[in-house]
Amino acid sequence: MQKFSAWSLLKEAFGGQQGWQPQWRRAAPKAEYDAIIVGGGGHGLGAAYYLAAEHGLTNIAVVEKGWIGGGNTGRNTTIIRSNYLFNESAQLYDHSVKLWETLSQVLNYNVMFSPRGVMMLAHTVHDVQVFKRHIHANRANGVDNEWLTPEEAKAFCPPLNIGDDIRYPVMGAALQRRGGTARHDAVAWGYARAADALGVDIIENCEVTGIRRDANGAVEGIETTRGAIRTRKVGVSAAGHSSVVLGMAGVKLPLESFPLQALVSEPVKPAFPCVVMSNSIHAYISQSDKGELVIGASSDSYNSYTQRGSLHINAHTLAAICELFPAFRRMRMLRNWGGIVDVTPDRSPIIAKTPVKGLYVNCGWGTGGFKATPGSAHVFAHTIAHDEPHAINAPFTIERFRDGLLIDEAAAAAVAH
């Protein structure tokens, strides 16, 4: 792996930028691997990286049906935070935030992690009470979160309209200063490059079409559009298509796939210093380093695999943005798109072993998986390597739906998708 440093940049500058090498090899599938990760998004690539870096499994592959970073990893609104209500969630998401803080150095790849603060607006008495409860629960779990008055919120985010003449005036805000954004493509590319350097084969344009099982029902390989590959361990990290892939092994999970939309504006000069989200009226906004306003819309109400959604969902979000940030009323939106998110009944992920020996799953991230990328990948790698969950993901089982041990972030998640 070509290491990035001030020296390498300088050297290439003088060499006319002709010496850069591809970030990862164009690997062809081998006949057999010790483990295979299905899905080349951030979660899958990260799991492959941690398997190689921390668990010594280097004869492994990531198979991706499209290209690296072309799925939900490249479609989300890049927001990072860990202010979840329940203890289990706080552990998981804060594990992730801690990994984000050093990820660029660890991967030698600038993921542009920017802890600029995530501010969640309260518009009703209920919001105020719930957010204050969140703040206390977070602080008891060692997760930073603080209450701001409307004036303090305005000082933190000057474009915010705190006037009382709007339909849902701002009554306060909860601010997590360690939250922020990162560049989502760079996360996938950084993990892919670092995993490749440790010997992991990253196989793009390779769609899984079947999961082979032996006489005892255990996994013995996968079938793909590029041929069959033998392996005893398969980790599925397929986001919206988790149900489809797991269905190949006869495993049915409590997941439903929905379109989730986002949109960006034309790029403008730096005008928006933080991330602002509002549950109640559904606004969700930050500004990328390119200058675009990045706006998250809601998920559509119906199951779909179309990677698009209905336009009224975006219009609804833009109405809220215009009221909260009147300065943006005349901004033009450049692009909108959808991704397919797999949602569990309690809106918490499943990172677990399945009833099929050798088959592991990391799914159900719903509308908020990007923030968890490093932490999720890290504990998923542990689960695959040891055939046992890490202490952090032990509660995130499939069986919790049978046993009634839900981690019910459905109401606690920051945006009411």
């Binding site: 298509h241 999970l253 409590p254 997941l255 119906y302 336009l311 009944p345 049978r402 046993d403």
Partner: protein, 101 residues
Amino acid sequence: MLVIHCPYCGPRPELEFRHCGQAHIARPLDPSAQTADEWGEYLYLRENPKGMHAERWRHMHGCGRFFNALRDTTTDFFVTTYKCGEPRPAVSGTAPAGGQR
């Protein structure tokens, strides 16, 4: 925006409707006789097909009635809508292009 054919009111914009999840789920007649697995499946396990999906809709801002629909989740085309209590129409495969939206 989808245009949805309510079996009672005809084609109306999606905004008038509410999606209500998978159709044809019968509540067990004797819940206390269910095993934990069966009850968990009844509460939480849903079909998530990439293809034809039988689902409930409610015409919230219209007649207010529930009905069922067959929709292809790879195209979002509705193949048909039908009244509650009627069996799922025998349609398989994917929706034809240009079908009922």
